[in-house]
Every structure is written in C-alpha cells, then in structure tokens.
Subunit: 381 residues, 3 copies
C-alpha cells in the first residue's frame, strides 16, 4: 500500500508555499505538469504505476517541468500530479496546514433556497485545505471553497448561472458542471494559480447534477475532493416537500501523520475505498439525524460523485413512492426499495413520511455502506 | 488473507455452546458486544481493520463486554462481532456443528403459492448452522430458519404479514423486511438469545423485496447468510406465468477446516467475492435445471442481496419481453437483454418461452458470473 | 500477480502451431479440454485458483485430455483453458505470432449502413491474433475476424441474419448473439478447429446487443477479446442522426514479453482491470476524435461487454436529451447526464449538437475511465 511513513505534520508543512519552493521539494513531493500532448493520459495506465493495478504503486514521474507551465490554455490538455516516493498523494503544504487543529463540522444536507431573480452569481476559489471527516481523521483535501463537497447550488431550469473560478493553488484546476451545455475546451479549461475562468450557462433540464474539477488526471482531482452538487428544480414546482441533498463519494487514503491522511491516486486505481460517505463525513447523520415531521414528503437529491462506484440508495423501514428516472418530473417509477445512482450521475427520490421513527438511509451495497454511508432520517410527531 | 489455519473441525466445536463458555473463548474467537453509542459503526472503517482495506485484517476488539448485553433495545444500537486472531469470522460453534455430515440440498426456486385469507403468519428462528453449498464445500452460516437464503415469502399487496423472530443464537439478530413501512428502531430491533420480536405490516407495493438481518455491523450479518426474498404480487394479477425466485448473493470465505469455510468480514470489505450464487448454491440449476413447457411465460423475481454487487441478469438465447422498473405492473420496458438489479434491490423479469432448448441464466458480469451464478432454464415441448 | 517472466517473444512462438505440438507444450502452456460433465464450471471457483480470489493464481489443471476432444457437441459442455505455471493466459502461439510487427489501427466507430434486402449473410472466423491497443502495447487476442472488438453488424428488426462461424483455432469457440432468440445448446455450440456452425435468426427487438464467444469458461473467452456489437434498428426509423457504436471492455493483462501482454484469467477473477477502453484501444478517439457538424443529432449505441463492469456513459459539456431504456424507441428518458450500461447489455443515447466544441465522452466511473475510456466528440461549424 502506497503511503508515506507517518511523520510529524510539522515536518511536512514547515516550508514556504510559494510555487518555487513547492516545486523544489522534488525528493519528497514533486509537481509534474506534463506537456500538452501527454496530458490527458497523465497518470493513466500508460504509466507504469497505473498499468500494474495490483503493483506497488511506485509511479514514475510523467515528465513536464517549468516549460509546461506555459501550455495551459486547454482544460483537456493540462494536468498536475503530485508524486512522492510512495506514489501520487494530495498532501500539498496547503492541504496539510493546520490539519491537527481543524475542527469537525457537520455538512448541512438541507437544499438551500432558490436563487432569486433567475440568476445565480458565483465566484468560487479552488484551494487546498485539510478537512476533518471524523473525530479522529483529517484528510488533505483539494476543494472548491474550502470544503468537501463544495457548496450546494440551487436554481431552476432556464435560470442564468454566472460562474467564476479563481485558483488559489499551485496545481491547475477547473470546473465542470454537468448541468451545463457548453464547450468544455473553453469553459471547463484549467487555470493556473491566481488566474480565473468565467462562464455563463442556463440549465436546460431539471435534476441533481454533479460538478467537479475536470483537470487531468480527472480521477485524482475528483478523488481528492473537488466535487459537489447543483440541483436544478423544474419551472413547474414538484409536490411540496422537505428537500435534502446527499453527495456520496469514496475516499482512498494513505497515512501522512497521526490522524492525517492524504488522497492516494494508486489506491483510487485499485477501486477499493477506505471510506464511502454522504456529504464528506463518516456517518455524520447518525449522530445528528436529518429531522422531519410526520406527514411531510421528503425529497432526496442524490448525487454519486464516485470516483468509481454507484450509490445504491435505500431507506430502512421505508419505500420510495417516486424515483424520477429522467429529469423530474419525467418518468417517475413507483414503489422502489433501492435504486442505483451511477458514478457521475444524480437522481431524485421521494417518500411520504406517514410513520414516525428513525429510518436509516444507506448505500445498500454494504461492502461500501459499512464504510461510512449510513445516516438517520428521523420522522417526529 | 485472513483465515484460520486449517485445523480439525472437532477442535473447534468440542466445547460447550453456552454463552458463558462461548464468550470465554477469547483467545480464538471472542464475542464483542459494543456499548450502545459505538455500535452502529462497530467494525466500520473507524476500526483499524476496516480502514485499511488492503491490510492484514487484524481487527481490534471494539470494546463491550457483559455490561453491554443490557443495552439492546434498539436495532441500530447493538451489534455483535466474532473476532479471531485472524479477523472476524462467522465460525461459531453452532455454525460448525455437524458441518462435515451436512447434506447438500437444492434450494427450490419455485415461487410458493399465495398465502390464503390475506394473512401470512410467520414464526422464524435466527440460528447458526452449517450449509453445504457444493459437493465439497460447507459454510458456517448465520441463517433464518436454518437455510441460506431463508424461506421465500409470498403474499399480495395489502395482505397482513404477522412476523415473529426468535433468536436461538448467542449473537443478537433482527429482521428487516424491505416490503414493510414501519419504524425500524422498534420493529427491526435486535433480540438476544431466546428472546423474540414481533411486528405486523401490510405491503403497499408489489415487487421482489429483500429481507435481511439488520443488526450492526449489517455487512457481517448479510454477508454471513441472513437474507432472503419476499415476493409481493399485485392485487390485479399479472399475466399467467410460471414464477421463480432467484436470490443472488456473494460469499467471502476463509478456511477453518478441510472443506469447511467461514464468512470473513475483512474479505467482505475488500469486495472481491469467492463465490456469487443464485439461491445459495454454486451452479445448482445446471445439474438440475428449472424446467418449463414450450409456450409458457416465465417470470423471474430476482433479488440481489449483495452484500455489495448487482446482479446483471441475462438469459442466454432469450430476451426479456418485459422488465418492470417500478412496482409491477408499473413502468414495463420491452426487449431487454440484460438489466442490473442493485444490491439491496429486486426486480421482475418476464419472457415468453416460444422456443425449446436449454437457456442458461446468468449474471452477465462474468467476473462474478463465473464464480457460481449460472443456471439452466430448460424449455421442453 | 500471475504473469510470466518477460522473455523474448521468439522463445514463445518458435514452435509448430499444430494441435499436437501445441498440446504437447505441457510444461509451459497446456490445453485442457475437460470432459462434458465438468466443463461449464471449468475454471470456476470450484477450482483452487478461482476459489481463492486473492490467492496466487496457481490454477490446477481441470482434467481432460485427448479423450475429451471427442465430447464437443454442446456449447455449454465444452471448454478450453490454457494454463501456464503462472496461471491461465491467452498467450497461444497464434495469438503471439508477429506481435511486435503488428500495426496500430483505429477502430472505426461509425455505424455501418443497413444490410440491404433484409438479409445479413456473415461467415466469420474465430482466430487468435495479436492486436496493438496503443503505441507501446500489443495483446495476445482471441478474436472474431482478427480484431477486438469483432466487426459491427447492423440490421433491422425482422431482418434475417444468416451466420456461420468457422474455427481456425486449437481452442474450441462459439458465437452467442444477444439479438437472437434461439436454442443456445444447438446454435451457440462450440466448434473445434476447422469445424463450423451455422444458424439463422430474425431479431425481434431493436437495440445495441452484445455478441460474444460463449464457450466455457465464458469469462476467459470474453475477457480475451471475443465480443462485439450488433445494432438492430427499429422498422420505423429513429430521428435522423449521425450514429456511432462504442463497445466498452476491460483488459486484464500479464506480461509475456516487452510490450506484449496476454489476457490473464486469474486477474479477471480479481475484477480490477488494467485498462478499460472503447472499441478496443486506449483513448483512441482523443488523438483522432469523432467529428460531427453543428446542428446534427448524434446517436451512440453503447455496448458494455465487461466482462465485469458497467459503462457509466457521460459526455462532458453535454446532456443526453434521450436515453431509451427499452428497445428504441421504447421508454425514452430525458435530460440525462450519466447512465450505466450493465455488463452484457447495451443502450442507445442521443444528444443534439447545438454547441460547437470538443466534448469528451467518458466512463464517468473514473477509477475505470482513467484507464483508457476517454474519447472526444468534436462538434464543428
């Protein structure tokens, strides 16, 4: 298993975070920015590391260097990979700084209110930051807006989404909204540190859509935390309901210090996750359940960001009266115990809370569900 | 790979099965009953063993003891784990007793007749028992009613299901019916040895629903054999057909003696099964096919219990004229070669047998299908 | 991991390819043709190798020999396995001959024109051949017509498909069309070297159907390259569109020489692929995109041959306005970002190209997608 020998966190982060200093740390963690033509398959199985999926995780450097920093105009043609002697990890200085002091916070699952005036204006930052995912574990995250997942966006079909991403990180990043129909070569292009990209779109279909960093290797950027959900409600409102957003994702981790772990690219390629979670935390809605009242309708907008596995969504003791297979309200199906949301996909699940009780919602693929994807829906009188 | 050194079976079971004696066997297999607050995540990745999914399977004891036996009123707050020096196995004395003499029997795939009088009365026992899954392999099972899967239940929408579970085992167990809408904290609660739980419900939707033990860690209880199918027919009958039930499940096994294997929790977390089977036996319907007559309609109620993987259901040489995506007869789709039943889910497949021949039914994910999920549908003139 | 020590290719293929010589190479690669009753489970987990999915891959010989060559009348009752000291590999002499000189060619994704006169006449050969899947990798393939995938077939519902397979290989092979309703025991039976099988059928349903070799162990034959797509268009034409075929498959490989790799049965059982590709090549449609014009409708017929995993199909920067869940035009759903095509299944995806740009199409399960399942749809004005 590729992980660094645990060491004192201060050893890792006691250094300047300027790009020059960062790149210079070649012996421990080196940044590789492959030249244009090689980039989309950077860290692909063409590399020794990737091809040998059961191997040691010793990944070769994929070339690049200062020169390639100049070739960055095209989102599918740039990439950044951090490689240590034990593989490719997300453990950048920014992703580790202050890790031990990082507080746990519950990720609010409530769907935020609709944007007003038919317009959503977002200026987000891509940045690396430590995130506490349980009492005793912090991960070295790559994030949108400093959290995993990034913020939930909520608008309606036909609204205007004006989006700007500024990159605070030494690693190129980008934004790919599944709710947009737009040339990704332009809109979803990668930007370097302190640079920005802006684009505008109008969602055409309702649904729970994934967004994520699309910079190559996409697996590394999604796998290190750069994802979230945009919920697009139909113009004609769905039945009145309490609405929640659940983003399922997998964590593939190496140890970098006591209680601090980094996302591990070689492990991602093995597709056996350490944790599978809703909204970025292990079992967070067991301790503090999602609470609704008897008689209310509940609507879950479920996004499965992977990077690899579906969410086999199920509520213990309940049945979904409606799952929309197409853009809601399209193609509703009735009387569903469990339905799979594919990785990179999203679906909308509804149930009527006509019984009080504590109803666990789970990924019923329990080889994964048992790894952190369990919460409680509490229906109270 | 966590497995015990093969040893003579008599060494393992030559001891009293009383709870006291059983718990006392701490050095080989110890029972841990975590206290309430820690229980739902017992054996979760918070444990060393689970977090390190490629690790050695050395699971730490999660605490508990006699005291925690008192805290058992809540199905999501109790748990039981058997831990040996090589991991968590299902190899209890009861699950092994008489293993070598256990006979093979074919699991009848025919859908049993409907309950009469609109009422199903079931009094089942949770108990550990060895099950012969092929000529040369016996597994140390945790069961409902002494078989894997448990019995098939058949009723109609709106019928009354009166269910009682009595636990004959040292390990707490419970029952979770996916066909029920009911407070799981009460109805699906765990019960200790010689105790019982009773609940009543009326299925609201038609379909092929999973039932299973929901005691934490759920992965261990499902993975060790505690599952089955309840088929709920719609009030308005579906087209006349020969009806069969297929429950697909995965076996993750360690060796405990020659020809005797135990379910292995650490291996379940790795999600690479040893066997994938229909109705609990390897390829049992090759030797003794499912037989129907030319011109008959066949209806398969397929439940995928996992614990992790879907069943990509396919019949070689045939096509389904109907797969119901919602509760039958809801949302039929036509002309289907293969459809995935998610883990924790169930679906209803129909085909018209207008050609004679021998038609293998398979999980067409052949990495799994090849591990035992192949049978024969024989259409005879 | 079971692979042969890299050695000079000439050492492997410098021998006669006659069956006698081939079978005689027992110490390096031996062919086993199990007797009838044992065959369908040949290389199943009943074998030592299969049962221990995390084991060493040392597969026992499953018996057979010259005698069993006589028992070959039944497709589900014959089998062929190549076993070396390191496991079961596809590295036959024919599959390796000329490997280093094999040229790369792009697999044409364009749906071929419909058969004329309502009749498709095909005489194909099963044969082993090296296939270059990237600049630096050649695989020892088992093929239909010398390529992986085999040729795309295109007809309409109710057309007549007359098919003959002649086997040029020492290993028995067969053909299973998912578009056919026919007795597989007869039509899909295995044939020995220089023998042929012929059958005729009329597809009843529209769709993208898999075809594959069904000789046991099916996993080995599918996993070694014997698959492809037959597209059955409905009688009533779908909306005018540019139509493409994408066959997703997984490669599980061992090294046999520098740059030459063989399909590895034990690795297939582990279900972690080295490569996941569209139309048999790594990322081939990045270098040479699929090109359409602004305003055109694009229809992708996507077949997922596995052998194990689904294709979570997604187009970056676009949304499918239509995915047909049943036989097209049946059960269309609207506004889809990603949908899973199960292994052994096929589906039809449509989008309207109303924006110019470069739109990557991917398997959005990026643990797999990153292993080669990325291409570009270029929409040009």
């Amino acid at each position: 298993m590729p992980d660094l020998d645990p060491k004192r966190l201060s050893d890792l982060i006691d250094q300047k975070s300027s790009r020059r200093a960062f790149i210079a740390r070649a012996s421990a963690l080196s940044i590789a920015l492959p030249a244009a033509s090689a980039a989309l398959t950077a860290c692909s199985p063409n590399d020794k590391g990737g091809a040998d999926s059961t191997g040691t995780g010793q990944a070769a450097t994929t070339g690049g260097g200062q020169d390639s920093l100049l070739h960055n105009s095209d989102s599918r043609l740039d990439s950044a990979v951090l490689k240590g002697q034990h593989g490719t990890l997300s453990a950048t200085p920014d992703a580790l700084r202050g890790a031990e002091q990082t507080a746990f916070h519950r990720y609010d699952p409530v769907l935020p209110p609709l944007a007003t005036g038919g317009r959503v204006q977002l200026h987000w930052h891509a940045r690396e930051a430590p995130i506490r995912i349980s009492d005793d574990t912090v991960v070295a995250g790559w994030t949108f807006e400093g959290d995993i997942p990034g913020p939930v966006v909520h608008c309606r079909v036909g609204d205007t989404v004006e989006f700007t991403l500024t990159n605070d990180s030494d690693i190129p990043h980008s934004m790919d909204f599944h709710a947009a129909q737009i040339d990704p070569k332009v809109a979803f292009r990668s930007v370097l540190k302190n640079q920005s990209v802006t684009f505008t779109y109008k969602p055409k279909w309702a649904g729970a859509f994934m967004y994520h960093c699309g910079t190559a290797p996409v697996l590394m950027h999604i796998g290190s935390g750069m994802y979230g959900a945009i919920v697009v409600s139909p113009r004609e409102p769905l039945p009145s309901a309490k609405e929640f957003v659940l983003v399922q994702s997998e964590f593939y981790l190496a140890s970098v210090a006591a209680g601090v772990r980094a996302f591990d690219y070689q492990k991602m390629l093995s597709t056996v996750p350490d944790f599978v979670v809703f909204n970025g935390r292990l079992n967070q809605y067991i301790k503090e359940p999602i609470r609704v009242k008897l008689g209310e309708r509940v609507r879950f907008w479920v996004v499965s960001t992977g990077p690899q596995h579906p969410c086999n969504f199920h509520v213990v003791g309940e049945q979904f009266d409606t799952v929309y297979l197409g853009a809601p309200p399209g193609t509703p199906i009735r009387g569903v115990q469990t339905w799979a949301v594919p990785p990179g996909g999203g679906m909308c699940f509804e149930l009527l809370c006509d019984v009080t009780g504590e109803f666990p919602f789970v990924n019923h693929g329990f080889g994964h569900g048992q790894k952190g994807a369990i919460g409680i829906l509490s229906v109270e009188s």
